[in-house]
């Protein structure tokens, strides 16, 4: 019986025009949100591990009211239950505070394995998994492209820049998975109906015993001083190939001293 907790984040849609709010935090109101696409891979891996043996998948998110949508999507995919940590004091938290809230929530849950996404599609730091593991004092293997569970040993393949590694860890382990682990399933009609009956717990900071002074924008260890949209690119020259497209390309390169 493997008890898995999957951490998923509710993020602004990457294909919309993302921007910032007046307090220099990510604008989460002006743009539609969704379950981070990269966290779908985490849900998928957890479901596959449970399907290969026996177990249970709990999805955990830290986020505002709408973040419940991310949990619902994961439940529709097949996760068993959800936990939503929602507290106004969390707004503007940095990775350290987010990892603190996640770690305290995970401590309240019974687990053998934690599965995270490789990085969120908004902040995209890719450090929350490591920080949670560091706080829980358990091993972490990040950026896994393949995960197999054998008893209480987790085997992971990781494709690094200079080498492909095989890594093993025993006991309670945290893994973060890449989009190389395999396509995530779509919720089936049956899954969508079943999700309506699944249990989602709502927790606040006081349920976790986390002090509001340890989280939020005012307590972040980093701050965004300013942001600026990228200046629009000046329209380039576009030619249609009429048998001389390659020559024109080479001429452009020469004019810019690349040749």
């Amino acid at each position: 019986m493997t008890k898995i907790v999957v951490a998923v984040k509710y993020v602004p849609d990457a294909t919309a025009n993302r921007s910032f709010s007046s307090d220099n935090t990510v604008d989460r109101a002006g743009v539609d949100g969704l379950l981070s696409e990269l966290d779908e891979y985490a849900v998928e891996q957890a479901l596959q591990i449970v399907e290969a043996g026996e177990g249970e998948v709990t999805v955990l998110t830290v986020g505002p009211d709408d973040a419940g949508d991310a949990i619902r999507k994961a439940l529709q995919m097949g996760a068993d239950s959800g936990v939503h940590v929602n507290d106004d004091a969390i707004h503007g938290s940095d990775a350290f505070a987010t990892s603190l809230v996640l770690a305290e929530a995970i401590k309240k849950l019974d687990y053998d394995l934690l599965v995270f996404g490789m990085s969120s599609t908004d902040a995209g730091m890719g450090v929350v998994p490591t920080l949670v593991a560091e706080r829980l004092g358990i091993p972490a293997v990040t950026y896994a492209s393949e995960v197999t569970v054998d008893g209480d040993t987790v085997k992971i393949r990781r494709d690094g820049d200079t080498a492909a590694q095989t890594i093993e860890a025993t006991g309670k382990v945290l893994v973060s998975v890449t989009d190389q682990t395999g396509e995530a399933r779509y919720p089936s009609f049956k899954g969508i109906m079943a999700a309506k009956k699944k249990d989602v717990q709502e927790w606040t900071l006081s349920d976790l015993g986390v002090d509001a002074a340890a989280v939020g924008l005012d307590n972040a260890w980093t701050k965004v001083d300013s942001f600026e949209p990228r200046p629009p690119r000046t329209a380039g020259e576009i030619v249609t190939d009429e048998g001389d497209g390659g020559t024109k390309l080479a001429e452009f390169l020469a004019s810019k001293k690349f040749v």
Binding site: G126, T130, R230, G246, T247
Partner: protein
């Protein structure tokens, strides 16, 4: 002057170029000290690029396990030396080390900086390169991971005084054991994230990268690929450019048979000059280009390759 710690990235003593960039950036902030994991002679290049001090840590634990032991050792050096900043290359391993060191040292963390100023303030490129953000650390010595190509390395002799450091590594740090490691074959082309010119191919190659590679070689460029090309098994994942692959910021980027999805743009939008070759004149990639050819890459690229060879003589 206060020390600025630079974590060295190397394979068997061959120091990666981004480390030299970090040493160069470190000199803006204070006195560079390199942290070198490995035995034998410390590479001379570290002193040549300004390292005043080189902490050498040689222990099997650093290579037998994932980053836990390295992070513990660096945190100890941070505690002992009270640096002005800690600079780490922005790789998967680098970010993981940075996260652990920052938490252990109760220091703020900034990842993927593309520039760092003398006061430790950083510039980042976010939302698929659509915004530039200035950020700073408000607690402790800033721990900053820096992207490749953030500055041009400048040689300046430093004292390079080697100081051997031994750290007692806790068992907790040894939780993730590396049981096998297969080095990747070198492509013979420049390293993707460091290259001045990157030529990439997508689904439009139809699986045959030969035209893309020949064109790249005529320019001495690195070759990259879109996720569609990688997912189809046409090119290895380590060459993927984009949100879940590499970020490149070369002088010149040439996208061939790539439509220009937001996730792809995330990895190349900050390139200085952008060129696209695509059959579809409405492909979104054309919104980014300085120069574009609407046409079949199978015809355009070989002709361009020939012309470049002719010009180079």
């Amino acid at each position: 002057m206060t020390e600025v710690l630079v974590v060295v990235d190397h394979v068997d003593g061959a120091v990666a170029k981004p480390t030299l960039e970090l040493l160069t950036i470190a000199r803006r902030i204070g006195e560079p000290s390199a942290i070198y994991f490995g035995g034998g002679d410390v590479p001379a290049v570290l002193a040549e690029y300004g390292a005043e001090k080189i902490y050498q840590l040689d222990d099997a634990a650093y290579s037998d396990y994932l980053v836990g032991p390295k992070a513990e050792a660096i945190a100890k050096i941070v505690a002992d030396s009270s640096p002005a900043a800690v600079l780490i290359p922005s790789s998967a391993e680098g970010k993981e080390i940075a996260a652990r060191v920052a938490l252990k040292s109760e220091s703020g963390l900034i990842t993927d900086a593309v520039d760092v100023s003398a006061d430790g303030g950083t510039t980042q490129s976010v939302f698929a390169g659509n915004f530039t953000v200035q950020a700073s650390v408000t607690k402790g010595a800033p721990v900053i991971t820096v992207k490749p190509n953030s500055t041009t390395p400048e040689a300046t002799a430093g004292a390079g005084t080697v100081e051997a450091v031994t750290v007692d590594i806790s068992d907790a740090a040894k939780g993730a054991k590396i049981t096998a490691s297969n080095p990747k074959e070198a492509s013979g082309r420049p390293e993707l994230t460091e290259a001045a010119i990157v030529v990439a191919g997508g689904r439009g190659t139809g699986g045959d990268f030969s035209e893309v590679e020949a064109f790249a070689d005529s320019l001495g460029a690195a070759v990259g690929a879109s996720r569609a090309a990688v997912d189809s098994g046409w090119y290895p994942h380590s060459f993927q450019i984009g949100q879940t692959g590499k970020t490149v910021s070369p002088q010149l980027y040439v996208a061939n048979g790539i439509s220009g999805a937001i996730q792809h743009r995330a990895g190349m939008q900050t390139s200085k000059t952008i060129i696209a070759v695509n059959k579809d004149d409405e492909a979104p990639i054309f919104e980014l280009v300085d120069f574009g050819v609407v046409g079949d890459l199978k015809a355009v690229l070989p002709q361009a390759t020939e012309e470049i060879k002719k010009r180079k003589g």
